[in-house]
Symmetry: D2
Subunit: 424 residues, 4 copies
């Protein structure tokens, strides 16, 4: 039974709810009250905020439909609203780190009071209401899974911001490996169907399923490795403006980029900060924490390009959703395994930058009401990433899933895979 079920069975809904909610708390366990407090840059939200906001989501969009509902913490309505203008006032994003009250303990109490109310409500409503609630609840669960990933992304930045460089996990990193040589897989394209299809769950930005013309192309068999990326650096990749988009070069100069985020050179060795703490860069592992600008420059240097999101989706079509995902608990991207069947690592390891701007699909319609603010209003200035990372839950990702970040963003677990044109 997965989240993508269409079953309206009360018990399976409740079971899904419990599993996702409980997983979030499991992920948060190594994070102290003080770790959970801090917003180390504007893009980061404190872990405590994530834990509260996902509960706020269920309270706002499910429980407040029940006129008899009384929130245990009415003041959280504003505090933990992220960006829903339709819902009302919002605590300013850049000040999320100032909420020393409620404490982490109070936030966990709030979570549990919401949990109790949700279960009670789901058990008590008539079937017809349940049919209305179920899709919203499922949005809420997928929303919480997104925040599971964001919480991990953000806590890494918090740890990195501390000169003591604490580790999230004390378990060993994924082992090094011999990386298979990079192969190319050819696809013929033509008029292709793109977007979510099925009776499971898809976000509004994956709809409607529609046609795109895709020219013939080849896709790399695996993601780019840290070792390959070190060659780019050694070849002057960060010193040659002609390899870069103009905006990328400006960003590089402004921020003094010389390597991926979290990398630091110590004498002859590159080290990087990750959820396992500071370690030497493992050359066989996928490169991670590169911006779109860096991914795009690397591809140019390599004589290739990034795939479009349509090309990626064509290649991922009918590929099983398996890989180094959250459930693996590796807490780092792993070296690719050999395969002759087709590209590997499409799901898990690192989000893959595509050459596609995040735009509405032809015929796109936003949801009704406040949930209409979920995706559509961000469709500008961002680039699409595909495939999930090592902290994405397996039941959360799929071939049509569209993630999106600004081209300068690097703190998410993002890497790249190459593509190239071929003659028709």
């Amino acid at each position: 039974m997965t989240l993508t079920t269409t079953s309206l069975s009360r018990e399976s809904l409740i079971e899904d709810y419990r599993r996702v909610r409980s997983r979030t708390e499991g992920l948060a366990r190594p994070i102290t009250a003080e770790d959970a407090q801090v917003q180390s840059m504007d893009d980061v939200s404190p872990a405590k905020w994530h834990l509260a906001h996902v509960s706020w989501f269920f309270e706002t969009f499910i429980l407040r439909r029940d006129e008899s509902y009384r929130s245990s913490r009415e003041e959280f309505k504003v505090l933990f609203n992220s960006y829903y203008n339709t819902v009302g006032e919002k605590h300013p994003r850049s000040q999320r780190g100032f909420l020393t009250r409620p404490s982490l303990v109070e936030v966990m109490d709030y979570r549990h009071s919401v949990d109790d109310a949700i279960e009670l409500y789901l058990r008590s409503v008539p079937e017809q209401t349940l049919a209305t609630l179920a899709p919203i609840l499922r949005v809420g669960l997928h929303h919480e899974q997104q925040h599971q990933e964001l919480m991990m992304t953000d806590i890494l930045h918090v740890y990195w911001s501390n000169p003591l460089k604490p580790a999230y996990s004390e378990s060993p990193s994924p082992p090094a490996s011999t990386v298979p040589a990079l192969d190319w897989h050819r696809y013929e394209g033509g008029v292709c169907r793109i977007g979510y299809e099925g009776d499971g769950f898809g976000f509004d930005n994956e709809y409607p399923r529609h046609r795109q013309f895709v020219h013939p192309f080849e896709l790399a068999s695996r993601t780019v490795t840290a070792g390959e990326y070190m060659e780019f650096i050694a070849d002057g990749g960060y010193q040659r403006p002609t390899l870069w988009l103009a905006d990328g070069w400006a960003q590089l100069q402004q921020d003094g980029w010389e390597a991926p985020m979290y990398w630091e050179r110590r004498q002859a060795t590159w080290w990087r900060m990750g959820l396992h703490g500071e370690q030497p860069v493992e050359p066989s592992a996928p490169v991670v924490h590169v911006s779109y600008y860096e991914a795009e420059a690397f591809a140019r240097w390599a004589g290739a390009r990034l795939p479009t999101e349509f090309e990626w989706e064509v290649a991922a079509s009918n590929v099983a959703v398996e890989g180094n995902l959250q459930e693996s608990e590796t807490w780092a991207p792993s070296p690719a395994a050999a395969s002759s069947d087709g590209p590997v690592q499409l799901f898990g390891d690192v989000w893959e930058w595509t050459a596609s701007a995040y735009l509405p699909y032809p015929g796109y319609r936003v949801n009704e009401g406040a949930l209409g603010e979920y995706n559509g209003k961000f469709m500008c200035n961002q680039m699409v990433l595909r495939g999930g990372s090592f902290v994405t839950p397996q039941e959360h990702i799929r071939e049509s899933y569209r993630n999106f970040f600004y081209p300068q963003s690097r703190w998410q677990f993002m890497g790249l895979r190459l593509a190239r044109d071929v003659e028709a």
Copy 2:
């Protein structure tokens, strides 16, 4: 004989060169030495800089191929390089307004010394060399025409930055008119051919001609008028976040937008600054100086959307390049004329924002050498505009022409036209 000719006849090349160069100087005539000095914001270049840079372009890419060439002003090589890293050092963009020397008189002398050298060179080279030079010369002429438009765009900002609000032109504005009701024209789409085709001139970003799948759509018969835009304002368009992209709403709040750029409310009346100076907004004329964010919000408010650049190109296909263009010397957008045949105002009046991000076409290749920096490195974070404005030269615009600006840009002569989905 137009710029888009393929003729390699020396005389026709020289004639084209003279015509374009002379037109630039004609446009600059009302601009004083002091007007031509000022950079009123980072995006603006001084008119003097435009006049020098376009000459630098011919000197750098044509004359310096001749080993015997000696520049009259060798120091201009750095001063008037815009963004060509391949060519060498550049005077910083934000400091273009500090070049009080060379004077405007010296810049005009420089222009004429380049002109003399170009003519001499074109007349003296063997046919084979001429065949190599001709396409570069034509890029240079189209480049100069782009700067004709930019010079007009920029000088308006300079004049607006002065509380005395001087006018570029003392001639009367285009007359008001009764605007025809907005009609919709239907296109069936399918697999369409997009990009430049022919033996005239197209920029590298218009290549290669390729296939796109276009879903059925309708396009508005004319551009949105200032009167319609005033209704949007009056209906709270600038106060309702749910009408806006998130980045657009943030920009609006940061910059305090309440109307298009150059508009100012005086009691009950909107005034706007234009090349004719300050005048009441003419409701029948196309709205101009709106950002992509405003165009997109207006479209949402109107229950429609912006067309993609592919839809626009499908509609403009085989439409004659006629309209309120630079040669009309109206110095302002004009009200639409009635027509039952198809959309009007596709060419001229205002650049039309499209819903398409500025990205490379499938199979795009940058030019060799320094000219490879002309377009490709800007293919990120910008949106495509189509169709030209009242200051675009007629021989410069075409159905496949792609202009591009950041979504927050408003100082260019940019407006919008609506589109909408239809059932297949």
Copy 3:
């Protein structure tokens, strides 16, 4: 027995040490681990950082003189260095809030390990060494008392930054009162002696005692009240540029000042945030949280001026150090009591802005070594305040004590007292 004793008795030194250190922990008791984590603006340091830094001070300047000393946390040497370039590297000031590790518990453990080592060391060193250590230890204790006050100042900003506006103290605020009418006390001035004199403790910036020529002046009998300040606001004090220094007016416009910091108007009533939480402004209490600019503008509006620090010291000479000081545990400034003898409230309640820039006294010499960085390098761009506040320890303040802040600073507990010229 006070801190200002010259006794070198080991036991009295240890007793002083214990008392001050213990007092700090008492003040910190209501502050949670999460409260203690946050840096709500660059000027603020987290309470946890204060608690660690004052211990670092004793470790750095006392314990590290003992070659056999081994720090329990060697990595704190950099983390908790504030601004001593002579000592070595420093964790950047603006990133103090990112130190989620060490936890508050670890910091308290560090405090206690330093305490144990200090007591052991003081007990074990020969008399001659003790004579060398004692003055440094006393600097350390006065340093810790300064940080007691700063910790209170900073935690108020942290609480205010939270929309829930938590209170530091749940005890009642000081009672309202009828404020005595403002009287003026006359001083004849002449060549006066200024600076610390005696065999107790004075900071280097209070030395040398020297001569200043003071013209005859009058000093107000009490500080300016919140009620008087509300009259200034009501009279357009924040709308009239001619009342303000040019830099003050620019600051007001930039930051949108309309009242003292922490004030907020709700309908007809002014409320303010303080250590007791949010409460209506008490008109009889001294106004607090005004910048030098506001103090100076108020004085001009009132037809008076601020006293110089020399005038203030002349007036405070031989006045007993009594008042609403830290030991009162009022956690707010109190209304003035009536008195005919001379000015009241010179010590305690609010720091009083003076008209004097913070500059070295004639003949000033900085301390040797790292402690030379304590005061001297800040003698530029700041204004002197005198007299202590309701969170200043009684044994810490004296007539020659010079506090100093930038003229725009408002988050300290700062108010003002008027002065005026008189004929000789």
Copy 4:
């Protein structure tokens, strides 16, 4: 006959007026219309603006007293108001460079129309009115002389901002020389009289003459030379934080200071930009274009300190106002001449930073009306400089003259002279 006469003779007033006004135009002669247009940083005003503003001053404070006066350019009332809130609206300071209209020619016409009106008015008013006007006119003339100096200061920045580095003057720089060894001159101090005394002209900030207690001190016989300053640089002056005020060190790091403003190292040689263009630094000439922070750090490095403004005035008392001043037309500071009588270079060459904050003298009163905004509102955050520079008019400077700049300012012609404490 000098400006400081008290004569109310109409003709001598008119003669003074003509001389000062004509001198301004003489100084402006090498400045082209384009040079005069540009504001190369916020602190700089365009030369055209200076030329207009000083005329605005006479129009506003003299001519507008005459009810029959009609301005030839009423719109200049706002455009050329610098900072007089009492007068009304002001064109924003940071946008002075955008005033391409009026042209330089129009500004000169405006000057002359004001000149004609002033002469006519001065000739036509009754004696009693003249007695009222004369002091204001004299303020206007001293004001214009200040702007003569500022115009030269600012145009140097404009020229320096241009990579072509044009020279203001083509005449040769002052010759190098052997600098006399630095001597010290002792002063006993005591209760001294400070401030303007006499029946000539003094600004309000020089009043009232009052008493200050000055401790015994020694003053250097000449200013610090560029050669001495190069030793400071070579000795790591810009790399050692312990030599600097904390704010100075922060400024150095923020702006990347490595030498005085306008200096540039080329291989082993320091070059500097001045009114003669770019030249190697002359070691025997006074160092110029150092901030207060640099002056103060140099003094600490040299084992000395800066004098207070009171010490400086004591030393300059009864010294003849002679030296390398504007009338010398050297356009650069000159090496000191030898002298055994007392300090040289007190007047002219470079403004000398003092250790005194710019504060009101005891008993200071601002002028009535708008002229009250002239000086008093700037008495915060700035440091006093004394003695004038090589572009200060001889009749403008005096022993009691107080100039003032922010401690980070470097673009004025500012240097330093050392002082030191002595035993009483």
